[in-house]
């Protein structure tokens, strides 16, 4: 299994492979045999290539805190899928109407800076009020339909300024 961690600014990739007792950790071209045994609470006995250490490990969501040999590390677990899709980009700069309806609230205007998740306009259709929210941080380029306007499916509602190329 491939695991990716970030420690400080550095990204580390390692492969975890089965071993007759414990695991093999492959980092780049190097292989290590590792064993982990709980000593209760967050205390562990870590054996690396036959050398035993005592470690304290706490896992909070995606963050792992390790105290070993008088030093502390904070590891951030990185989801490979999340990492690759974040690099993907290519998302549209315009929100389109998911269905025919009416604009019932307009909460931004061109030039406004918006945060991901912020409501841009609210539309009503089939008895439901749907908030069209910013799909990323950005600057509003245009609100295409005024308050009270009706629209068809796929009509543009709000555009953000294109993202500067990374």
């Amino acid at each position: 299994m491939k695991r990716i961690f970030r420690i400080g600014e550095d990204r580390h990739e390692l492969l975890v492979l089965p071993h007759r007792s414990g695991r093999i950790l492959r980092i780049g071209a190097n292989e290590h045999v590792a064993r982990l045994a709980s000593l209760g609470a967050c205390e562990y006995r870590v054996e690396l290539d036959g050398v035993a250490h005592r470690a304290w490990i706490v896992v909070r969501g995606d963050t792992i805190h390790v105290h070993l040999g008088g030093r502390s590390w904070t590891l951030e677990t990185i989801d490979e899928l999340a990492e690759t899709s974040a690099r993907g980009g290519g998302a549209s700069d315009t929100a389109e109407a998911p269905m025919p309806g009416t604009v019932v609230r307009v909460q931004v205007e061109a030039g406004d800076a918006v945060k991901r998740g912020q409501t841009l306009v609210v539309i009503e259709s089939m008895k439901m009020e749907t908030a069209v929210v910013a799909w990323r941080d950005g600057i509003v380029a245009a609100v295409h339909r005024p308050l009270g306007a009706t629209f068809d499916r796929k009509a543009p509602l709000v555009s953000l300024e294109p993202e500067p190329a990374a």
Binding site: D62, G117, M126, M128, R153
Partner: protein, 535 residues
């Protein structure tokens, strides 16, 4: 599986206002549940004391393994019927652990009208035994009932799903090899007498327990014979002479201990093996659900935010994330069990309907239980959508949901309107468990729309008779319709009528579903097969 990335701002005004609103709703729900469970007129509790009988809740506490969860079902049944005088429909039902076995319990509540069975009591008992049949759950009955409530006999005796169905279900369970244990802690009169008689094991309490087809007053009226209840159908008669009951007990405490011993020697079921991993708590705090559920049923919200607070590690493998986006489909784990989730994220269009039917087939083929999270205003209407076949695409969903052989679970998270209820495994489609959140609403169409349609018809009719209505007269037609609609579409009405298995605090949903999935795995999963899909 990837963690859902929440977009909820937990410091926003909307979130805080929603949270306050929903916490108040949950406090009200808890209050009403508490009343239904334990608030009784003083004289009824005193009468139980005089008769030397325990209150049903105390019986349950003795029966269940201490410290284990009890998933009570339909606590608020009948809360809007019979002037609110029959809390819980006079029945306590739920899933619990007795001597280490998962069982379903059905107990008469003699503090309510002497444990008489009202029409909704019958509905609750039949549903309890349906759950036992579908999930192969052993049943423990605690019997203490005056029999059918005679003034309403026409609504509880003769029809297909009336009282006879209780006994039909008992026989079905027996034939399937699912055992039943009856504790006779009070009278089992008339039809009720068949409950212990049709159970494989029955325990009867000396002095207070009795089983007879006709009680002493009826016997006197019919034949002139004068007998006491104990002589007519008491413990010693039935355990020594007639053989109608199996185990005599000197007290309720002893009877319950015997019942626990009986359950303890039942064979442990072989659970159907499905994909399971070590469970993990959601990584987003489920408390945040209160801030996400809107104050107004009309306000749309992202169902991924709900999923993120129900499933293990908030991890969700979304299937077809870019197609038919108003129906979210995907795999997740709940208490370690793999589940296939269908969750509404807007109106059902042609593409979302096709996606739903397709995803259900996939889940059936890979043996994954289905979880439906409903927030649905219906299938899209309009000429464009009819031309694309919205009706036949909705029919595909209904066909797939009906043909599904994996266990199904439904939670009405918010709105449930129109045929969307059907396509998303509404009550008629045999979900193993069907729950509703207390702010949810359910009806064939929205109240406003119905009031509009119905008052329009009435106005046209009167206009044909040459009458013109003032605004006040129109309102006088509209308002009562709207009021009745609002009343009958509330979650409290739904649960009163047993259209669901109970209202859930959103925070309890994960645990309730975990128990439900565990129960469902007592039954084998058959081979998938469907009717004819209209393509």
């Amino acid at each position: 599986m990837r963690r859902i990335q929440s977009n909820v701002d937990v410091r926003s005004d909307t979130f805080l206002a929603n949270r306050e609103h929903n916490r108040a709703l949950i406090a009200a729900l808890r209050g009403r549940q508490e009343e239904a469970r334990s608030r009784r007129p003083e004289r009824d509790l005193k009468r139980l004391g005089r008769q030397g009988k325990l209150f049903v809740r105390d019986r349950l506490a003795l029966l269940l393994d201490p410290g284990t969860p009890f998933l009570e079902l339909s606590t608020l049944a009948a809360n809007m019927a019979y002037d609110g005088e029959v809390p819980g429909a006079g029945q306590v039902t739920g899933i619990g652990i007795v001597s280490g076995r998962e069982v379903i319990i059905r107990a008469d509540d003699a503090s309510v009208k002497g444990g008489a069975w009202y029409p909704l009591s019958i509905k609750k008992i039949v549903r309890t035994l349906d759950i036992a049949i579908e999930n192969r759950l052993p049943v423990v009955h605690i019997c203490d009932s005056a029999g059918g409530f005679l003034p309403l006999q026409a609504d509880l005796f003769a029809d297909r799903y009336y009282a006879g169905r209780i006994f039909r279900n008992q026989c079905t369970l027996s034939k399937m090899g699912v055992p039943q244990v009856a504790i006779v802690a009070g009278h089992c009169t008339a039809g009720g007498a068949y409950i212990p008689a049709l159970s494989e094991y029955s325990v009867i309490v000396r002095g207070t327990g009795a089983i007879f087809l006709g009680g002493p007053p009826l016997v006197k009226a019919a034949t002139g014979e004068v007998v006491t209840a104990d002589e007519l159908g008491g413990c010693d008669l039935h355990t020594q002479v007639s053989g109608t009951a199996d185990y005599p007990a000197a007290s309720e405490q002893e009877a319950i201990a015997i019942a626990r011993d009986i359950v303890g020697q039942l064979a442990r079921p072989q659970k159907t093996a499905i994909d399971r991993e070590e469970p993990e708590e959601p990584s987003y705090d489920p408390e945040e659900l209160y801030g996400i559920i809107p104050r107004d049923v009309k306000i749309q919200f992202d169902m991924r935010e709900i999923i993120a607070r129900l499933v293990d590690g908030s991890r969700f493998h979304e299937y077809q994330p870019a197609y038919g986006t108003t129906l979210i489909c995907g795999f997740a784990r709940l208490w370690g069990y793999k589940v296939a989730i269908l969750a509404n994220n807007g109106v059902l269009f042609n593409d979302s309907s096709l996606k739903g039917a397709h995803f259900m087939e996939l889940a059936n083929q890979n043996r994954t239980p289905l979880l439906f999270l409903q927030n649905i205003t219906g299938y899209m209407v309009g000429r464009e959508y009819e031309a694309r076949g919205i009706t036949k695409d909705g029919a595909k969903m209904i066909m797939a949901v009906t043909g599904s052989v994996v266990p199904k679970f439904t939670v009405i998270v918010n709105g449930s309107f129109g045929a969307g209820n059907y396509g998303m495994c509404g009550r008629a489609f045999d979900a193993r468990f069907h729950f509703m959140w207390p702010q949810g609403q359910i009806s064939v169409m929205g109240g406003e729309q119905a009031a509009g349609v119905l008052s329009e018809i009435k106005i046209k009719q009167l206009e044909r008779e040459g009458r013109k209505l003032s605004a006040a007269e129109v309102a006088a037609i509209r308002e009562p319709i709207l009021e009745e609609y609002t009343r009958c579409s509330s979650a409290y009405y739904s649960t009163s009528e047993l259209w669901d298995d109970g209202l859930l605090d959103p925070l309890d949903t994960r645990n309730a579903l975990g128990i439900g999935i565990s129960c469902a795995l007592n039954s084998p999963i058959g081979e998938p097969g469907y009717g004819v899909f209209r393509f």
